[in-house]
Amino acid sequence: MKDQIVRTASLRREYGDVVAVNDINFSVPRGAVLALVGPNGAGKSTLLKMLSAVLEPTRGTALVNGVDINEDPRAVHASVGFLPDFFGLYEELTVSGYLEYFARAYGVPRARRQAVISRTLVDVDLSNKADARVQALSRGMRQRLAIGRTLLHEPPLLLLDEPDSGLDPESRHDLQKLFTRLAGAGKTLIVSSHILTELEDYCTHVAILREGSLVAGGSLGEVRALIGNKRRVRVRAAGAQDGALAILLAAGLGSAAGEGGSVFFDFSGSDEELSGILKRLVEGGVKVLYFGEEGGGIQETYLASLGKKI
C-alpha cells in the first residue's frame, strides 16, 4: 500500500446533474509518470482538482501520499504541486520575487530560501530571467515559472493539467526535458495532455478517461493488453529480409510482411514473448540491425480505447 502514492476509492464528482467523474478507482505507484488522457470533458481536470484537494468530491475519497483528501485537505496540499489548466501569475512581480513570495508562503526557512529559489530557477531554466517582470515572459516561460512554483516545497507528487497546451514546439520540447528531469529525480507525475506523442517519451503509466469513467488504467503494457491493442513491430535485417520473414511466419506471426526494406508484424504478447521472437531471429542466423515497436504507444493505445465500451 505504501508504494501507491495515489489510491482512489469510488471517487465521484457531480456538477448539478452532470457526473464529471464517475466512481473512479485507480492507483498510481510512487515514482510513476502517469499520462491522464481523454477527450475534452472526460473529467481529467476535475479528477486532478480533487486529487490536489482544491475540490471536494461528491462521494468517495482518495488517499494522496497516505492522506485522505476529505479528512485533511490541507495536509494533501503539502504533498502535491498542482498546476491547473488555466492560471494567472502576479504580473507586476519579478520572476525571483514571485518565487520568493511562494517560498515564504510555503514556509521555506529564511536561511534556505535563496538557495531554494536559485535551485528552482535552474530547474525550470529561468536563471537568466530572475530579474525580469513576469509580464515580460513568453508563454512557455510562464508555464515553466508556474511549474517552478509547484516545486518550491519539494512535493513528492506533481499534478499537471495540460501543461503543454498552447505552447510552440520548442517550448513543448523544453517542458518535456523538464518532466524527464523531474521523473529522473524521483517525483511522481500525473500529466494530463492532448499531445499524446510527447507523453510517450517519459510516461510509464496511462489512465484513459471518457465521460467521467476510467476506461483503462495501469502501466502502458497492462493498458494495451486490457484494450487488446496490438503492437506493430519492425525488423530490419542486413541484406535480404526473406530469412527474417520466414522465421516470423514460422513462429506463427501470420501478419508478418515485407515493406520497404523491413519486415513488419503485429504482436499482442508480453515483452518477454517479444524478446523470445528476437532471440529466434538471432539464433536463426538473421543479422538484426533494428528490432523495435512502431507506434503502439500512448496515442495508439488511446485511439484503440475509443472503440472500447465504458
Partner: protein
C-alpha cells in the same frame, strides 16, 4: 516590517507589487505639498493649530478609509478574476494568515500615504500640546473606522465567488463612501462632545462621559471590524476546505442583539418595544443564510457525516440563524415582556429560511434569487390585494405584526401554519436528498 512580511507573506507581495520607487517618491512629494499648502491656507485664515490638525487628519483618514477600502474590496476579487486564487489556496497559509495579510497588505500604499502625512499632525501636538485630546480622539476614531471599513471591504470581496462580477469591483467604492460618512459623522460627534449640550451615549442605562463615549465608539468600531474580519476569514476558509466552527454565526447574532439592546434598554424599560434588537440580528440572519449557498450537495454530505461534532460544526447557516433568533426572542421577552411579537417575527424568519432551502433543493440555477423574488411577493402581495379588498382580517396570518385586536393564538396561527406547511414540503425534499443515489 521584516517580521510582519515574514509572518504574512501577503504583505511582502503587496509591498513588492505596489511600492515601486517612482510611486513612493511621488506619493511622498504629493503629501508634503498638501501639508505645506494646508499650512499656508490655515496660517492665512484661522491661524490655529487646531484647524491645521482638523484639516490634516481629515485628509489622512478620508484617503485611508476610501482608498484602503477599495484596495481590500478588490483583493480576493482580483485573485479570483486573474486566476491566482488556486495557487494561494494550495499554500499552507491559513485562512487567518491570508485574510490578515490582505487586510493589512492590500492597502499598503494607502498606509504609506497615511504615514507621510503623520509627521504634520505630530508637529501640531508638539507645538500645541493642549490639543492632544483632540489628536487622540480623532486618530483613535479614524483608525478604528478605517479598519472597520477595510474589513467590510475584505468581507465583500471574499464573498465575490466569480471574481468577474461587477459587484466585486463596485462594492469597494460603495463601502468606502459609507465608511467616509461614518468617519465624518464620528469626527463631528467627537467635536460636539466639547460643547455644553453634548449628546452623550446611554448604554444599558449608563450615561457615558465625553472620553468614555469616544472609547465606546472606538471599541464598537473595532468589535464590528473584528466580526467582519472573522466573516471574511470564514469565507476564505471555506475555499481552503478548512473545518467550520458552529459558534461563529450564533455568537455574532447574540452579540449584535446585545449591542443594539444596550441602546434600546432605557426606552424598552419604559414600555417601548425594542424592535431593532430583534430586527437587526434577524436581518443579519437573513444575509448570512442567503450568502451561505448550502445546496443539495452540501446537505447530502452534511447528513451523511459520521462525526457528531463535525455535523454540529457543519450545521447549515439558516438552521443556526433561526435557532439563535428564537433564543434572542426568548431573552428579550424575559427581559422586557411584550409577548407575541417575539414569536411572530422568528416564525416568519423560519418560514422564509425554510423556503430558501426548499428553493435550493429545486432545479433552479439561482435558488437564492428565486427565494428572494417569491419572498418579496409574499410580503408585498397581501398589502396590495387584501387592503383595497378590505380583507384586513387575514393580514395577521400573512404579515409579521402583532394585532392587538385578536388573541395571541389567532395571531400566531397563520405564521405557524405556514411554517408547518413549508416544513412538510422541505421534509420531503430532504428525504429525497438522503435517498439520492446519484
Amino acid at each position: 516590517m521584516n517580521r510582519l512580511t515574514e509572518m504574512f507573506p501577503e504583505i511582502y507581495r503587496y509591498g513588492a507589487q505596489g511600492t515601486g520607487k517612482v510611486r513612493l517618491i511621488s506619493g511622498l512629494a504629493a503629501s508634503l505639498a498638501l501639508c505645506a499648502a494646508t499650512g499656508y491656507a490655515v496660517s492665512k485664515t484661522t491661524g490655529s493649530w487646531g484647524s491645521y490638525l482638523a484639516v490634516v487628519s481629515f485628509m489622512q483618514f478620508n484617503m485611508l478609509v476610501f482608498y484602503g477600502t477599495v484596495c481590500t474590496a478588490r483583493s480576493v476579487t482580483q485573485e479570483r478574476g486573474e486566476r491566482t486564487w488556486d495557487f494561494q489556496r494550495l499554500t499552507p497559509l491559513s485562512s487567518f494568515n491570508l485574510a490578515a495579510g490582505k487586510l493589512l497588505g492590500a492597502p499598503i500604499f494607502a498606509w504609506f500615504l497615511f504615514a507621510c502625512l503623520l509627521p504634520a499632525a505630530l508637529t501640531v501636538v508638539l507645538f500645541s500640546p493642549a490639543i492632544y485630546k483632540v489628536f487622540l480622539s480623532r486618530y483613535a476614531l479614524g483608525l478604528s473606522i478605517s479598519l472597520l471599513s477595510m474589513a467590510i471591504g475584505l468581507l465583500a470581496s471574499s464573498y465575490d465567488d466569480t471574481g468577474g462580477s461587477g459587484m466585486g469591483h463596485l462594492s469597494g467604492p460603495l463601502i468606502g463612501i459609507a465608511g467616509l460618512s461614518a468617519l465624518n459623522a464620528s469626527f463631528r460627534y467627537s467635536d460636539s462632545l466639547s460643547l455644553l449640550l453634548a449628546n452623550y451615549i446611554y448604554f444599558y442605562g449608563h450615561r457615558l462621559g465625553a472620553a468614555t463615549s469616544i472609547l465606546f465608539l472606538v471599541l464598537s468600531f473595532l468589535a464590528f471590524a473584528a466580526w467582519a474580519f472573522l466573516g471574511a476569514r470564514y469565507r476564505i476558509g471555506r475555499d481552503l476546505l478548512e473545518k467550520r466552527r458552529a459558534w461563529r454565526l450564533p455568537v455574532f447574532l447574540l452579540f449584535l442583539a446585545w449591542y443594539i439592546a444596550g441602546f434600546e434598554d432605557g426606552s424598552a424599560r419604559s414600555g417601548v418595544f425594542p424592535a431593532e434588537a430583534l430586527i437587526l440580528p434577524g436581518l443579519a440572519a437573513y444575509i448570512a443564510s442567503f450568502l451561505s449557498c448550502e445546496r443539495r450537495e452540501y446537505w447530502r454530505r452534511w447528513l451523511a457525516g459520521e462525526s457528531p461534532s463535525r455535523r454540529l460544526d457543519d450545521t447549515p447557516a439558516w438552521i443556526k440563524s433561526a435557532a439563535t433568533m428564537l433564543v434572542i426572542s426568548g431573552v428579550l421577552f424575559l427581559s422586557y415582556g411584550f409577548g407575541r411579537i417575539y414569536l411572530i417575527l422568528p416564525l416568519f424568519l423560519l418560514r422564509d429560511l425554510m423556503f430558501l432551502q426548499w428553493c435550493r433543493f429545486s432545479a433552479s440555477r439561482r435558488p437564492e434569487m428565486m427565494a428572494l423574488a417569491y419572498l418579496a411577493m409574499a410580503y408585498a402581495l397581501p398589502m396590495i390585494i387584501l387592503v383595497p379588498a378590505k380583507l384586513t382580517a387575514v393580514l395577521p396570518a400573512l404579515l409579521p405584526y402583532a394585532d392587538i385586536g385578536i388573541s395571541a393564538a389567532a395571531n400566531l396561527a397563520g405564521p405557524l401554519a405556514q411554517v408547518l406547511a413549508i416544513g412538510y414540503l422541505l421534509r420531503g425534499k430532504i428525504k429525497g436528498v438522503l435517498s439520492d443515489k446519484n
